[in-house]
Symmetry: C2
Subunit: 179 residues, 2 copies
């Protein structure tokens, strides 16, 4: 567990001043594994550094993102960050229904990336890619609801990895009559 020095070096290598806050944020996000919202990062960091301000976490995560030490992923309009493991690029699939997030391998995406680059000149940044849709489980649920009655009271299932992250602004107002 030589995490500490690893973060320190990464920040130093990026030509930035090494502060407890930066190291703490970088460590926290790496330890948490996966993409986490800023307030979650703050909560984690505060376990060890209670005085750390939310604004600092925002500024720090933003900076580390720009330095490519973190990936910034917007999920449902809320910023999430994940550790940018070199050589572990992937996109994200977010279920609109239950909010769970699945990684999308580059196998599928690189093809798209190259096609877009060739045909439109647009260089897709995989690290920020968030695709919304329905996960396998929710797709099953939807099918069931559609069969009989109109007022399908959708059953939200909780996925093991979903946690309470993301899914705040969106995924509201279910039970809207004909929908």
């Amino acid at each position: 567990m030589q995490h500490y020095s690893e973060s320190v070096e990464a920040i130093r290598a990026a030509g930035r001043r090494v502060t407890i806050q930066r190291v703490a944020v970088l460590d926290a996000i790496r330890e948490m594994e996966g993409h986490v919202a800023v307030d979650q990062v703050a909560a984690r960091v505060r376990e060890k550094h209670p005085q750390m301000d939310l604004a600092t976490v925002y500024r720090t995560a933003g900076l580390l993102g720009r330095l490519h030490l973190l990936n910034e992923v917007s999920i449902g309009g809320v910023s999430h960050y994940e550790y940018a493991s070199p050589g572990q690029r992937h996109g994200h699939m977010v279920c609109e229904h239950c909010g769970s997030t699945i990684h999308a391998s580059t196998t599928h995406l690189d093809q798209l990336r190259e096609a877009l680059l060739r045909d439109t000149g647009f260089e897709l940044h995989l690290e920020h890619l968030t695709m919304s849709g329905l996960c396998r489980e929710c797709r099953r649920d939807e099918e069931h609801s559609h069969s009989g009655h109109t007022h399908a009271q959708a059953q939200h299932h909780e996925h093991p990895r979903a946690g309470d992250a993301g899914i705040r602004r969106h995924a509201q107002s279910e039970g809207e009559g004909l929908l």
Copy 2:
């Protein structure tokens, strides 16, 4: 230009009450062509109906989105809507640097959609897809900056279609030292 009756029918067909506000929002977004932010929609709608409230536009656009008469696209954390022309599905590519948005044809995306569905069970919703990256022009700019000095004062060019939409939260803080 039988737009009016078209919107009225669409709303009625969806089983909702037909109100001036709903028709106006739907018409406005269709006339504006492309994805527009909620406040832009409000501004447009107010030309003819000055009393219309922002909250109403939010509620209405949200409803029309759920009814699949509009597509909701989140750009830089801000909701945009576009008219959901049947049989005109596409994704969006948003340039992180200049904020311009380009449509991505389904030719590229359907392939991805099918691959994801097959391999992961995830059903990608193309209508909400926003991919960030760099457009052709900004890619050129970046290259130039990287050649010489470190403090590359990035030249923002204005794209014809960019307008003043989106690009509010992101695309900030340029000139950040080593970046």
